[in-house]
Symmetry: C2
Subunit: 320 residues, 2 copies
Amino acid sequence: MHIAITGAAGFLGQRLVRQLVKRGELDGRAIRRLTLIDQVEPPAPDAGAIEIVSRALDITTPGGLDSVLAERPDVIHHLAAVVSSAAEADLDLGMKVNFDATRSLLEGCRRHGLAETRLVMASSVAAYGGELPEVLDDMTAVQPQNSYGTQKAMCELLINDYSRRGLVDGRVLRLPTIVIRPGRPNAAASSFASSILREPLSGEEAICPVPLDQELFVLSPSRVIEALILAAEVPGEALGAFRALMLPGITVSVAEMLDTLREVAGDEAVARVRHEPDERIRSLVASWPARFDTARADRLGFRRDADFGEIVDAYLAERS
Amino acid sequence: MHIAITGAAGFLGQRLVRQLVKRGELDGRAIRRLTLIDQVEPPAPDAGAIEIVSRALDITTPGGLDSVLAERPDVIHHLAAVVSSAAEADLDLGMKVNFDATRSLLEGCRRHGLAETRLVMASSVAAYGGELPEVLDDMTAVQPQNSYGTQKAMCELLINDYSRRGLVDGRVLRLPTIVIRPGRPNAAASSFASSILREPLSGEEAICPVPLDQELFVLSPSRVIEALILAAEVPGEALGAFRALMLPGITVSVAEMLDTLREVAGDEAVARVRHEPDERIRSLVASWPARFDTARADRLGFRRDADFGEIVDAYLAERS
């Protein structure tokens, strides 16, 4: 089993690599090789019997992945992407990295006859937008209100069509908001969702720009990694008529997140969260759907966190 | 008012040109110029005071429309496309004509600063597919099961994003099955829908490959042309959060179509329809949605035919 990972130097990429090394197998077959691809050579963990090859490759050059595709990987985890704020700030960059590079990857699979290769792409809840129903399901229209979501939705359609035509065996996961991300606050509108837990748990202050009753649809990093692996294991036909699906998550309000923080770290931790309403962030976050019926993904075995307490506990266990 | 039309030599293009010449105005402004674009110079009708320029241009060459865009048309009707059977037979051709050419057109509008230009693209009911609900509405997911529908759905997303970013003022109409098309039977799976009326009305035989209870969602050619004109007249904001919408149509079964034929032309006309079940066509046509709640389009003033009798009467009036 040879698995290639684009965006392997990123947060999810590095976690996926570590988890694959720890498991040593995928879909019942021993992992022999991992090819880690990013703009710079991705760090490679000590992997015992698994051969790890780190490559600095430009996925935006047509054919840029040919040397990897020629080795006929069994699975490709395509995680490389320009994040939503960057795609919004620079349409050309977003189209080039998020859309054109995915199309080139699909064409590469076609050219190399990789009909059996399981291509797993990460899409996002940001693909949804517009006048949405109270609860979304697998048949809710994708009407993105940002360029990142647009580019991801176009990739979903293309991966579905290439899969339907038997040119590759694609699967796309729409990821919920991932919490708790490690690191520092950043420019992403969703940054606060990790920050209001992570910083107080480290004795630092955090800013909450949205009202307490704002709901979010969230999933922990370890569940996302589990999902990326399961997505490469389920039979393509099991996905039904469309190769993209929304991952299960849990719906939590900011108030519930802070209640959990209180249970875990007391009133003094909650007091470290300053409430500074930010209308731009509030309206953006309010436009994200927070309630989903993910029946199809549930049936396929994708799992949500039990509750927000489990997400915080897992974060603390990893940090220690 | 300067209107440019791609695919102007086609069935819809030629009808649109004639109707625009007949009206002489669009959105309350006199039409001064029509630029007709196709692979070969489109035929131009006698147009009185309206200047008609016919151009043979290759829209698949990036910048191929620059000479037209430099004249800053107020409206572009983008009808050029490779039909569904051709797009299914040749993925590269479909991507090039249906998707890349549309993207080039959007980029051309961006480069020429045509933020106010109203770009109207024809999409299709073929964008829908998969496990659909009984009645579709504006929030039903687009999960195409053919490359034509995939390419059109990708264009919808891109036009929506370019419009949201203020780079062009786009609108996309998903067309129902158009009946009664003039001409002869062709390779399209929907060909029978026109043929089982058109041929018997001319005293010829026709073949019906689907069961009598098969339903279709149909619209007459003249209503489609009305819709293409109205789409250029409605304010972009009126379309709401997504720039593509399904046009109203009427749901008719093959039995109802033949009942109408009987009323108009008698039993001997109906007897000219031979029933020769074709499993390939049957299963394809059965996958097309036939029932829509088009509330948004209805509110915007798009109109369906009153009933199937009106469609047949209009065809006979035009033919005579």
